[in-house]
Symmetry: C2
Amino acid sequence: MSISASEADDSVSAGELSARYDNFVVDLLGSIAYGELSAFERLANDARHSPSLSDRAVLGKMAVSEFGHYEAMCARLLEMGMDPELAMAPYQRMVDAFHERTRPADWHESLMKAYVVEAITEEFYAAIAEHLDESTRAAIAAVRTSDEQNALLAKLLKSMLAQDPRLSSRLALWGRRLVGEALTQVERIGAKHSFLVGLRPDGTQEAAAAEVSKILSTLTRNHSKRMSQLGLTA
Amino acid sequence: MSISASEADDSVSAGELSARYDNFVVDLLGSIAYGELSAFERLANDARHSPSLSDRAVLGKMAVSEFGHYEAMCARLLEMGMDPELAMAPYQRMVDAFHERTRPADWHESLMKAYVVEAITEEFYAAIAEHLDESTRAAIAAVRTSDEQNALLAKLLKSMLAQDPRLSSRLALWGRRLVGEALTQVERIGAKHSFLVGLRPDGTQEAAAAEVSKILSTLTRNHSKRMSQLGLTA
């Protein structure tokens, strides 16, 4: 997205808008970078709940790919001349608190968390990225869990549920808790997104709020689909 | 190393020796594989003690490379038609107990543990690998922390020690505890190594014990050198 003065409120100069846009991007990349670093550590740790060593490596492998995403975000920030550490810092407390509130009690919950939270997070960032310049969008698009990884998680979850039908109600409940926490998190970051919408020609406050709520309902709908695929009620 | 009947005790058939050699290799690769998987998880976890996010990524990066080593060992075991999980299982309790006994209390200790333990472990496996066939040796040689990684750890440790001279005595003590625990660990795995020495033409029990003790003293000497490089007494 390139921003020219004509597109925007006359009271704000083009230079100021462009600076605000850059700030927004840095902030966004910082939040993704910290989220990925944190996901790396949590997944590596949650992996230890696994019943077998080969299962354990499933989350380990996922953790390793999150670390790669973290590095990619840092590289992008450095390319922009920004300090990744400064960009990440504002998100540290919020993300850590999210993980504290959603600490898996066992292997089933660990796997479910990996499956649910990564998907929501990635969809959220992809939705926001649609409004951004091409190279930022490409950088964010690269931060994606592979389809094989997701298919493997779904397969493991399904086989766990098939083996122990009593798990269904517990994991359905856990899924609801995870999605609730994840959407709350996303909403907080989304509050900053309204500024971005505000930059567009039709960018009223109402349009911004509508945009964020549209993203949230898409995320919820996709989450329900993923739960149904596992045979769980969302 | 290829084993022919003529080289070995007449009371043991060549087939039996070859089977025992294969068992030893599987056992060794299993111990390395589990050690690396476990190091991956511990480093990822210890990383959270770091004072800054960029420091945190140093151990994270190291953790990621340990995971690659784990995968390489599993691939080698699968190539040999073996189940990595079965090969790793006998080492799980021993390695986990080692990490429980050497749980770092803070960032300084985490960094020191990464620096000291990885080096000893790698030197130990390299020493044992000298007696093995070429492809096993090559597989084990690939399981090495990069020189840059080690140089970076040493640099961080040195700068920490320069900033806070009171750290020296604490870290020297911690280094001694780590090396003590690591050598005990290595000795246990080394006990199995005596079997390997026993396969060689000059392979008496005495020769085996001498070989293991030679390896241990080399490891101790190299550890002392590393400590001196940090300005610490070993």
